[in-house]
């Protein structure tokens, strides 16, 4: 390379190096060292990790051999050393050899690859079944046969996402309510989607299964290590794709039982609040938070919507029309559109509150109240 070239080279690279150094210095807690797949805490994740490492080593050995030979050739057989080129261009023996040997390596690799896959598929005879449903952009967990069901969505405030507030330690890794499972029990996840395809991934369990509307996929986990494990949605599902994390809390069995009992009781108590008369202030407060979590993602913070994609809710003929139609939209959704049914996602209280809130905010002044019991009645007349 000429002098000029070298100068150009340095000129281009030094800002980059500076940038990197500066970047490293700014990042408070350096994360350079997270380079590899986690071993995780289940038999399946261990199997995935093991086969991953086997593959890495096989590739490393082949790579060192091939690239090593290549570099030797590039060094030794260059024209500048005055070599005269050979003229051979065929050798049946080596060609057969380098077809057969890789094939044999593959056959050897197929054995652990198969055993590992069998583990992934070993979903029979679970102790606990949990239905996992992907929604745009949150997860719902239902403990089958226990009557316990809840939504789990991102808890990180918009202000942190948009840089108006410093990012917390658990940025994008915190949810309103984590999934809770016990240690030492085989938990089977039955995974499905409500709208588009999502994918439920918890790296430490090596569980990743697509959440497909109309179908169920199955995966399982059993671990003896209590703790908190974080996962992600891994199938592009719209604009909130990066904002629907998964948090699983593994509790010791006794603790889990307590937790489950408390959840069941909560469900019973909730039933009694449906019939109660809610005040305007209570409904507005509740509605505001439900709206921010469940609706603002599409209809925007002040109900202004996004033209051509999500309708605005200010002066909308539905929002300012008869209550019945409005409840209908939330309970049934609008077929063939992103407006899903919220009947399963939100409680009667939540639905009543959010409708009430919309009808009396952002310049909408309907002045009426919508009570949870109205929602229940609507559901029952269907």
């Amino acid at each position: 390379m000429s002098k000029r070239a070298r100068a150009l080279f340095l000129g281009l690279f030094s800002p980059m190096i500076l940038c990197l150094v500066a970047g490293g210095a700014i990042a408070e807690e350096a994360t350079w060292n997270s380079l590899n797949m986690p071993e995780g805490v289940t038999e399946v994740s261990q199997a995935a990790y093991d086969i991953h490492m086997i593959m890495i080593w096989i590739c490393t050995v082949i790579g060192v051999a091939v690239f090593g030979f290549m570099f030797y050739v590039m060094f030794a057989h260059r024209k500048s050393k005055g070599v005269t080129p050979a003229n051979f261009h065929e050798n049946l023996t080596v060609e057969i050899l380098w077809t057969i040997v890789p094939a044999l390596i593959l056959i050897v690799m197929a054995v652990p690859a198969t055993t590992a896959l069998l583990k992934v598929y070993d979903t029979e005879n679970p102790d606990i079944d949990i239905k996992v449903t992907g929604y745009q952009w949150k997860w719902q967990y239902e403990y089958i046969g226990e009557g316990v069901k809840f939504m789990s969505e991102l808890r990180t405030p918009q202000d942190e996402i948009y840089g108006r507030a410093p990012k917390g330690e658990h940025y994008l890794r915190e949810v309103t309510e984590p999934l809770v499972i016990p240690t030492n029990k085989k938990v089977r996840f039955l995974i499905t989607g409500n709208d588009v395809i999502h994918s439920w991934w918890v790296p430490d369990f090596a569980v990743k299964r697509d959440a497909i509307p109309g179908l169920f996929t199955a995966a399982w986990a059993k671990t003896d290590q209590a703790g908190i494990y974080v996962g992600e949605c891994t199938e592009l599902c719209g604009k909130g794709h990066a904002f629907m994390p998964i948090v699983v809390e593994v509790k010791e069995e006794a603790e889990y039982d307590q937790w489950l009992a408390a959840k069941k009781e909560e469900a019973v108590i909730y039933q009694s609040t449906i019939g109660k008369e809610w005040t305007d202030a209570e409904l507005m407060a509740k509605g505001e938070s439900v709206y921010a979590i469940s609706c603002a993602g599409c209809h925007q913070a002040k109900g202004e919507g996004i033209p051509g994609v999500f309708p605005g809710l200010v002066d909308s003929s539905i929002v300012t029309g008869p209550v019945e139609d409005h409840i209908g939209i939330l309970i049934n959704g609008v077929a063939g559109s992103a407006m899903q049914s919220f009947a399963d996602q939100l409680s009667e209280v939540d639905i009543a509150a959010v409708i009430h809130y919309k009808r009396n905010s952002w310049g909408n002044e309907m002045g009426d109240t919508v009570q949870p019991i109205d929602i229940l009645n609507y559901k029952q007349t269907q």
Partner: protein, 518 residues
Amino acid sequence: MAHGPSESFFSRWLFSTNHKDIGTLYLWFSFAMFLLGGAFAMVIRAELFQPGMQLIEPEFFNQMTTMHGLVMVFGAIMPAFVGLANWMIPMMIGAPDMALPRMNNLSFWILPFAFAILVATLFMEGGGPNFGWTFYAPLSTTYAPDTVNYFIFGVHIMGASSIMGSINIIATVINMRAPGMTYMKMPLFVWTWVITAFLLVAVMPVLAGAVTMMLMDINFGTSFFDAAGGGDPVLFQHVFWFFGHPEVYIIILPAFGVVSQIIPTFSRKPLFGYSSMVYATASIAFLSFIVWAHHMFTVGMPIAGELYFMYATMLIAVPTGVKVFNWVTTMYKGALTFETPMLFSIAFVILFTFGGFTGMMLSIAAADTQYHDTYFVVAHFHYVMVAGAVFSGTAAVYYWLPKWCGRMYDETMGKVQFWIAFIAFNITFMPQHFLGLAGMPRRYADYGLQFADWNMVSSVGAFMYGGAQLLFLFNVIRTIGWGKPIDDPKVWEGAEGLEWTLPTPAPFHTFSTPPVLK
């Protein structure tokens, strides 16, 4: 017979039926798309420079990832190799032109319209396609913006263009070879292209079928992909990947061809294992039809299916390995020099092999449970598509440009471009392996703090890589306008083949009378 190009600029380029002019059109179009797709990538990497949403909204981020993928695959890489095929195949097999010159004109000129339509959607109400270049239903049907209809129309036009281009190549190679140019004497670039053309003719209609089913679901009330109406969203993925996996080989096979021309030239030694190269290419093409569901290891296939697709995918490593070994052995005991095309070709062999390694890892279904849809996959396919297809395309331009225009490019600038591209490429994509393994999913507009460092590195690398392309553009324009004139027909000391028997620069019409082959 010996008439030159039309005098008027418009009639020369608009109505051209000359394989060289059409090749040039394809190449410039492809480079323009490469810069556009690159601009989208810069937007993506700028947003991902730090955690948090800084520059754009997630909605627009999704449009950027989708458009980046579509423009790069269908607008940049595929037309680049069609352009090279147009220029080189007739010259390599001793034909006066392509077999179907008028269709050649049409197959090029519908492309700009396809992309104009596609890009225009970005400015329409609802925005451009935002469902990923793999456009899985129902995100791309029920939940898509209305502009999806333009997207479908655009894909149809691109498909028609590719099919016409391929038929032309097949017809040319079957019918127009000079006497004595038997199939097993054809240069490898020609071989890889015929095989690619057959792949294209086979799978483009499948893609057309997929988007047509989408169109029906969206506008005419069918439910091919809608579970509520008795359809199946997974069906979409099967149809898509039945196109999609051969598509990745459509992208890489011509690149194999290019490298198989360049490495012997600069090793001053014939290609090692010519016939095994041909057979390996054909077996890769065959295998590419029977492995598609390795992209769907997490959709919950029955285990028998999953095992089958795993074994079949692992098999691809065998013919791919044969190719790599042949290239390396071609260099062995040669007399190597390292001009820019050779540098790019060697980098191709190394980095493509690296991408092949991660490909083998991905083929292990149990491990793919962890890799799938993370940055690990993004790293894998950029090693094979950028360091593979794009590097080899760049090598091809440097290799043949002197032949095309009779002027030599600036070697120093070429080498500087190479080293920046090589280093920047690795700074961009090597860390993405780590990100993926550490758990960062792909197509994420924002990420947790644990991924911050490597994302910053990756973004810095991406900007450098983008810069290197401007240097490339500059070098090519400088060569065409002001490069040192040359007239040696061989251009390169070690070059072999019919194209190098022609005068430099290559005249407008060549081989009007067939050459004589020994």
